[in-house]
Symmetry: C2
Subunit: 576 residues, 2 copies
């Protein structure tokens, strides 16, 4: 069996930044070539970033993408890198619109492609067959499906190419890989992180390797793009499904691996298969060390996803710093710790905004947090700002409670306008679900670091982060008191969350059944919850859809996040 050296370049592209992304591709290609690799592969749309959403409907964007791919090929050749095979994802077009649009709303004009560059030229192009159009994905909206499988004959080995979703479904490319007797299956991906997704993804890759009798090289993007975090975790498995190499999660990496692939055989099957012959490069090769990353604990993975999601939103949008309100409570404390891990404490600004209802501990816990983390910290009492509204407008009850939150929102937005910070809003998934927040108040902000983290998990992550610090001999960032005390919005005297909400362990379980599992009220009650309580919780969720629609984006870590993952009408009347 011929030995082939593969390089999997797990890069972090920025959507639309063709120049910068090309620089990274050239850099990784050089490193792969210098390491003696025969082929280097980049993630899905590594040239343009992913997802490009409706940018795929702009003819100019697509023309630019195609031009930048050709320019990349020429540049690699110029820099003496023309002999290594480069597989890189890019959006291609414009093509004639697919036939299901209208004159005013043309349908897809793009394809989601893997381009193969060699000798300065685009020598092959593989378009994605299966276009995911569920969950956060709108690919059927934006792309025209492909219908040809590309197989590269690289000297003595046949290498088939597939794009992401194409290995998730039977039929199409996967069945042709077997028919083509390929030795290696190269899959380029943009697969966002979800809790426990590795428990689905890795077995799938293994299954495809065994089924198709190929070495499968699976490269994924890494990095945050709006509400998605690509986790990397690129992997190579052999024909028996054994892991040969695995890249770490959540960081850029060049994964090198030597594989033994089946010899080429005379082609026996050719329908729907495009074959392209390329010469193997002749280079001396130093041996390489085994590179198999171990996945960390579930809580550490989530934490890392949240940190990277925030960091990339800040860096890719060129903010210098973030600002957030510190209440001494668990949510803002966890957000501050995430921000400090993402950007360093010097780029994090905390503001304590006590009201007349704020307890002593809320101030002292916020002070303690700020000191532990070492962030910039100031106090702005809100009483003198709130009173004039009360005097002039006589707000009481709910109006008076929301007023306090909105005055805090004004302070943070004003400091953002004056000093250039990105405002973080610190609401968790449980609050967002039931609408337990003040719109334009504590929900004000450009990014919501824990919007997909239910309250119980917020506590769990806080404990984990502190233990993790202690294990490394560092100061735990989150005051124990912020973790242990009963949660309160402190918008009226002696208020606690449990005045108006069920205990969080019950609430989170009901919400997971309703939102995560899509259970109906009867099925949820069947799990042992009070039917009246279930009905009440569902009503709260449905009635706060309008607030969620106006909420900031934040990193998706669950199988069902609020946002484009879950698209529901605001106007919706329950009759059942």
């Amino acid at each position: 069996m011929p030995g082939v050296r593969l390089a999997l370049a797990q890069t972090n592209p920025v959507v639309g930044a063709f120049e910068e992304n090309s620089d990274v591709i050239v850099d990784y290609t050089r490193r792969a070539a210098e390491s003696g690799a025969d082929l280097v592969m980049f993630g899905e749309m590594a040239l343009s970033g992913y997802p490009i959403e409706d940018l795929a409907t702009r003819p100019g964007f697509l023309r630019h993408s195609r031009e930048m791919l050709h320019r990349l090929g020429a540049r690699l050749e110029e820099e003496g890198l023309g002999d290594i095979v480069v597989v890189v994802g890019f959006p291609d077009g414009p093509f004639e619109p697919r036939k299901d649009g209208t004159a005013s709303a043309p349908s897809a004009i793009a394809q989601n492609c893997a381009g193969v560059l060699h000798g300065g030229e685009l020598v092959a192009r593989q378009a994605k067959f299966h276009l995911p159009n569920y969950s956060v994905f709108d690919e059927y909206r934006n792309f025209i499906p492909g219908d040809e499988l590309t197989v590269l004959r690289l000297g003595d080995v046949d290498i088939a190419i597939a794009v992401c979703e194409d290995i998730w479904r039977d039929g199409g490319p996967v069945s042709r890989v077997s028919s083509a007797d390929a030795g290696i299956l190269v899959v380029i991906n943009a697969s966002p992180y979800e809790r426990d997704k590795d428990e689905v993804r890795l077995p799938l890759v293994r299954k495809r390797a065994v089924e198709t009798d190929t070495v499968v090289a699976y490269v994924n993007l890494v990095g945050g793009q709006d509400d998605l975090v690509f986790d990397g975790d690129s992997v190579v498995v052999d024909q028996a499904g054994r892991i040969l190499a695995r890249a770490p999660q959540f960081e850029e990496h060049l994964l090198l691996v030597d594989v033994q692939a089946a010899d080429v055989t005379p082609p026996t099957y050719s329908e729907g298969i495009t074959r392209v012959e390329l010469p193997r490069r002749h280079v001396g090769r130093a041996p390489i060390a085994e590179d198999i990353a171990i996945l960390p604990d579930d809580r550490e993975q989530i934490w890392n996803a949240l940190v990277l999601g925030l960091r990339d939103y800040v860096e890719k949008n060129r903010f210098r710093s973030v600002i957030l309100g510190l209440s001494g409570g668990i949510d803002s404390s966890v957000c501050a710790a995430i921000a400090a891990d993402a950007l360093g404490p010097d780029r994090v600004y905390g503001v304590s905004m006590p009201s007349r209802y704020s307890s002593d501990h809320s101030r002292s816990d916020a002070d303690d947090l700020a000191e532990r983390i070492g962030l910039h910290y100031r106090t702005e009492a809100i009483a003198d700002l709130v009173t004039p509204f009360e005097d002039q407008l006589h707000f009481e009850a709910l109006a008076a409670e929301n007023l306090q939150a909105r005055v805090r929102g004004i302070i943070l937005m004003g400091l953002s306008n004056a000093e250039g910070h990105l405002v973080l809003t610190t609401g968790n998934k449980t609050e967002l679900a039931v609408g337990y927040s003040t719109i334009y108040g504590d929900s004000a902000g450009g990014f919501a670091p824990i919007k997909d983290v239910p309250k119980m998990l917020v506590w769990e992550l806080a404990r984990w982060r502190n233990e993790h610090a202690a294990d490394r001999g560092e100061t735990p960032p989150i005051p124990d008191n912020a973790i242990e005390k009963p949660p309160s919005a402190e918008l009226r005297p002696d208020q606690t969350d449990q005045d108006s909400l069920p205990p969080y362990e019950v609430l989170d379980a009901i919400l997971d059944a309703f939102i995560g599992q899509r259970f109906g009220p009867e099925d949820i009650a069947g799990l042992g919850f009070d039917p009246k309580l279930v009905e009440d919780v569902i009503k709260l969720v449905d009635r706060s859809e309008w607030k969620r629609r106006q909420g900031a984006i934040g990193p998706k870590i669950s199988q069902m996040a609020f946002g484009r993952d879950r698209r529901l009408p605001i106007t919706y009347r329950h009759s059942q």
Copy 2:
């Protein structure tokens, strides 16, 4: 040729309100039966409301829909309406998930169906073949396509059934209608209003009538559902494409028409066609008058769409009243006039919130408007609320300007909390496009009546509305001064919009090319605009995507509205 009396029931369902929608269907069926109709047809998903979005992924919702359809059939029979054929749209399921989802994100489990009720039973079911997944539609996400054409043999006439998109595309149902030699084609629709859409829709219906040699009866929903407004405009055309009947836009209507359809022929073609035989009812029939509505002028259509969009958002979500800030400017004046037309002036609350920079005319124009319309009106000066922030936080420049807008947002939201009004935000499409608004300030609100109306069109609508009032001998609602004066945000002394923006006629033209036509910068410059200005405008649009994501919904009237019509990343770096 046999004569058939058709009834097209143009109803306004509420999403999820199966009981109420069923009541309406029974009511219209009774009226149709009493008028001697052989068949009554309702719009797409008239039973459940449309669009149901991801409610289509809830098994419980779908089970309920199917059950409610059966219950509707039984009820019609009980009420002596079993002999009229009823065609009604409903979501059906749950079926086995389509094969392209994952365990955690199952794909479509529903079909978008027309159900045929007769004699108390569901006697036929036609599932939509072609699932629009462009513009505002996500149907491929949520539905499994159908593959059978249903043809009802009703005594001596064959009636084929299609659902909405199925007549927009060649192939599929349309070609089978010809093969089946049907005499009538019944099409049930949920086709939202867009400016000039009738210029596409009616010719399409005519073309299909001629092509298939059938009488085409096209029934559309009417009413607002979140950001969509269904305009009705149901129509019946004969085999030569001549209009036999046409319902008015934007109101519920029962359209009755007698048609002459081809006799049945022995079936010559049957592949993919399900035939169902039903008896004609035997009833005496009084003659009916011709009912052909004339479409009003373009501006009146738009105005009516905006009025209905707001009214239905308010009524379907059970708000008693709306509140909005009145600045004396054109945008808030037009919004107030729309609100008064939608709800009556007694359900509209206006608040003048002058600052130290407000001109005398802004106050007097707001007073004048309030008096002309007769809405509830109060004044809350903001100086005493703004000053404490300035004193404590030393906000200047942009921070100080935004502060004023945010204090106004707090006032309106507080009054909403205290008194239960829906807050209207009065920004127009041009402002939203370039980000010329204060987030959590003037953008605060649950509904944005003119968010899809560019500034130039706001003026045009204001003039039209005043002329329309004058034509009817009524008081023009909008003060001339609000229309004629140069627009200003009045956030600093002597400010006008044109300090920071190009003239609106130029800006709107560039925005229409970029957003509406999807032109790139070079193409726009090619229309004769300064390339630097075009580049600057595009940058403003792209940079304010984060604000638009957090904006209120409002009625779509253009071919490309902000919101689910135009899905773009926030994080997006320009390299071209």
